[in-house]
Symmetry: C3
Subunit: 437 residues, 3 copies
């Protein structure tokens, strides 16, 4: 991996590109299966190479079975005047996701059994699903719901639930090492931005950058339906998972809130230490929370039979922002600058993973004489934060073969980058040597 400054270049521009990709993906009605997923992956594939897999309905994946494929053409509720009072074409969250086909006339009273609203947020439409229990329904604002009059309503959901496939996309970027870093996002929500178009668009542009780099680790990016997709991928790739040495689930990465890191199940994995250090170095507010077995796809990666070192680096965690799973989680809620800020953190995480080596002080008895090797001049010629005498001393003192650069940066309280620069300078003066592992 080349210098981090290259990766952190043009973050503003990248924020806009991510947001533009999100705009393209926003209108599509996605679900855990169906053409919405295929369209989504096709658009992402314009930006990065993507292998798209189709797993047939009925395939057993651990305790689960790939469900029937759901597709939808149209849906609406018409009043007796023939006016569409709820229209899927206006917003795809109007339909209870995975609704079975319906076409009937109903009284208001009867209809109400299949209507869903958010009384606490009367202007927002809730997003709801019924994947594993056949059902149908409409979601609408509570304000509209309260204005509904006695009438005979025509209800149409022109959907299909048939044998088909579960579709997902995958990108693998080969590094010099077979050990992998996993980035996982889900592509099963319809027009909802923070949860979770923000995840796939961030990973798309992260993968794009990595694909252009020389890397130590190999990197795998998943664009899968949540839960059943992760279960499917783990089932199909069970023999390969031992290579995953670190991983992050990317969800809720574009809202205005500060960063949140949910730790891995073990809580002391390399990725935990790396993300903590990135957040600590950021001088921005952040929160670190312990693993809990509810949430997104870390539920599957961290199930006891896998126990993979996968955490989740988010902004505001799912469920904790009011817009969560409502029509208000839209293109205005997620902003380019927040996407860019999160991307920066993901890049810094990768940078530490790539650069976190152990070194050996080649002059371990007493300090080496830095002056006669021109190291004081090196410090003078750089910006103050980039190379400091303190960082040189820390690297020399702790490079006894047991401490990595990350360990040294944590113990010293200095930024990883300062420690890395100090190590580079000392290597250039033959005072330090990388430990082969």
């Amino acid at each position: 991996m080349s210098e981090i400054s290259y990766f952190l270049n043009n973050l503003d521009e990248k924020g806009k590109e991510m947001h533009n990709l999100m705009k393209d993906l926003y209108p599509i009605c996605r679900s855990i299966t169906g053409n919405g997923v295929r369209e989504t992956l096709k658009i992402i594939k314009k930006v990065i190479p993507l292998e798209i897999r189709e797993i047939p309905t009925g395939t057993k994946v651990f305790d689960w079975t790939i469900p029937k494929e759901w597709n939808i053409k149209d849906a609406y509720i018409k009043n007796s005047k023939g006016e569409k009072i709820v229209d899927f074409k206006e917003s795809n969250v109007h339909v209870l996701n995975y609704s079975v086909p319906v076409h009937k006339k109903m009284s208001l009273k009867s209809l109400k059994n299949n209507l869903y609203t958010l009384p606490d947020y009367p202007d927002w439409i809730p997003y709801l699903t019924s994947y594993y229990q056949e059902n149908w329904g409409f979601c609408m604002t509570h304000k509209q719901f309260e204005g509904l009059e006695e009438d005979v309503y025509e209800v149409v959901i022109d959907s299909s639930l048939e044998n088909g496939h579960l579709t997902y996309g995958e990108t693998y970027i080969e590094g010099s090492d077979e050990n992998e870093v996993l980035f996982s996002s889900y592509i099963c929500h319809p027009s909802l931005c923070n949860d979770n178009l923000s995840g796939p668009v961030l990973l798309t542009y992260l993968a794009k950058q990595l694909a252009e780099s020389d890397l130590n680790y190999s990197y795998r990016f998943l664009f899968i339906p949540e839960a059943i997709g992760a279960i499917t991928w783990l089932n199909l790739n069970e023999q390969k998972t031992f290579r995953i040495k670190s991983g992050l689930v990317a969800t809720c990465v574009g809202d205005p809130g500060s960063l949140t890191y949910k730790k891995t199940r073990e809580g002391n994995s390399m990725i935990d230490k790396v993300v903590e250090k990135v957040l600590m170095d950021s001088d921005e507010p952040y929160e670190i929370i312990d693993f809990f077995p509810d949430g997104s796809d870390e539920r599957q990666y961290c199930s006891p039979g896998f126990n993979l070192p996968v955490g989740s680096l988010m902004r505001t965690i799912y469920g904790k922002f009011p817009e969560y799973h409502t029509s208000a989680d839209n293109l205005d809620f997620v902003k380019p600058e927040y996407l860019a800020n999160t991307l920066e953190k993901y890049i810094k995480v990768i940078y530490i993973l790539e650069k976190n080596k152990k070194f050996l002080n080649l002059n371990p008895k007493c300090e080496p004489q830095l002056g006669r090797r021109g190291l004081y001049e090196m410090i003078g010629s750089q910006k103050k934060e980039d190379l400091t005498i303190s960082a040189l001393f820390w690297v020399l003192n702790l490079s006894d073969g047991s401490n990595s650069l990350l360990d040294i940066s944590i113990r010293s309280g200095l930024r990883f980058n300062q420690i890395k620069n100090a190590a580079d300078s000392l290597v250039s003066k033959n005072l330090l040597e990388m430990v082969k592992e």
Copy 2:
């Protein structure tokens, strides 16, 4: 052990029963030996089966020797008008416990050498003893002491200190496992309620309930004189102590204060974790303090040659309530509701000890599909706190053979009962299996 609800039934009633037993025991003049102890044990034996042991005076028990047996019929101080100004029959704490027999006439000045009062609490009589140094004395209120006039006083202590026995009681409730839980209380204080009639009455009713149950552990209840009794029991049972896997000293369990747990010497024994969890789950204030080698019979159980995992679960710790070792520690100070509240905690401790098993997730790779097994309906059919989806996830996620239900409840922050219910539900659906140990 059957359901905890059964044990926690009628706690109010049990509080009253314990307090009534205390009323029966209150008037008896107890000491570390003598007929007071025998009468006490006889009354307890009406409630639970009790083996009563008599150890002869002069028996060597480790560094100690069973002392002469002390008995007392009467004691008083008469003034020259023949009025009993201090009368043992009014309160047995008037007599310095273990006083040798005395019958003489004395000036006030001379008498004062053998009078004990509490200047800071002028209405209370102090409780004092002189077991291992022959002495005699009277305890009285400071108020009365200050009103004493110059006179010739007749002093009578009609006691005896002769070869006899040390008496104690023991109940053993056999479980399916030879490993034991020890509950120890002392029965050597005269008319004093919190310290310590509260201990034996609580253990009496705890033993009564356990005797009716199927148990995994075996349970041993001791009703012994403090210090010399614990030393004697340990001496006689040295070869059996290895079976004691957990233990509690019950003292000061009936006052209005909140609960206090004094840890075992090791500080990280099973009983320490269990009691901490019971207190944490209680939503009541509590305090946990580290072991210190002073105190009650944990001094002996936790001496380095035994180092048994014995803590002490109290309300206000000895010495920290002003009524401690005074006539004010009476039947009004200890109330049925406080006894009942402490009993509840002891029952919950036993419940966790009995039920704290390890389980294995039988579907460890990714989550099992709870919906098709009706687990969501199970949740719906119960009260919200009793079974939650979160508890199911925690049990599934951590049941990898290394975590017990207690471990899972501690890590999740959920109540033990919720974790236990979740495990039961999952076992009923063949998703979980108990680990045989």
Copy 3:
């Protein structure tokens, strides 16, 4: 080592003696080599035996080379009227330490390139050095600097930089054990008191006291030039360093601030625990800071190739008092009472190191009967703090062969001295036995 009271006797007097020795040393112009060091060691040698070593210029010591020896006779700046406006004879910090010889006339503008001041402290002269880069210069108050007029100045530095020696002093006090405690101070600063005449004068009087004692450990005291001296000593004594089990660098030990302890590189060495306990027992404010690889000679002792358990017990740490490395770090800034207070702490550290044994409770099953052995009387006959029942219980309870007296004092929260007294009393009653190691 006899009783600590003997050592702590007359601390006031010792404070004055240390300050008087400092007064004798103050006027000498020291540097890392030269006659100033020799004179300094000669004066110290009047108080304690001292082996003085001379290491020739050009000797290789690890990555370094013993530099040329620097000596100076005089230095001044004269204005055109012939007035000495800066005079080395008034203060030896006026000269940039290790200045090469100079004799020339210069304009003010040109002269200013070689003048150093402290704009923030306009009345103080800074102390500066240029050991490894040939240079010359004068240090002066900023106030004087600002008053300098256009003129032609005559600049004289009558110094020499020639092949010679590096000089240092060493005292070794043999104990019954070959394992050593190292005390290191430096003697390379000219007229500067806290940093660092305070270090050598404190160690001088500490060594004086130890020389009169029977000791378990052996003690080594170093009086060396900073950095190059420690590097030299380590180079010459590399094979012996394994005997150093604890060590302290003594610097900044005479200022009005409270005590600061900088831990060893490992952070959990015996010396770390001992110093922490001494400070905790002191009832004075203090600060404990983690090791960092900058600072004084702990940089060398704690370099990874040695990693010796050497910390530094100071008052205000170098760089954190404004007088640091200025003419204001003078005989008024360091006071006898502060030197005495620090000496007391060093003595207490040594006392714990010497007395920190493990003991075995010879009556480990239940408590021994203290009464019949007269231990309660022993308590009564001593001052309350010196021997307490609580200390006896703690020592008996934890003396299972795994806990040292220091461990017991830390766990109990009692002072080391109380635990030590309790152990002595119990040994005298045959209840305790020292563990041979």
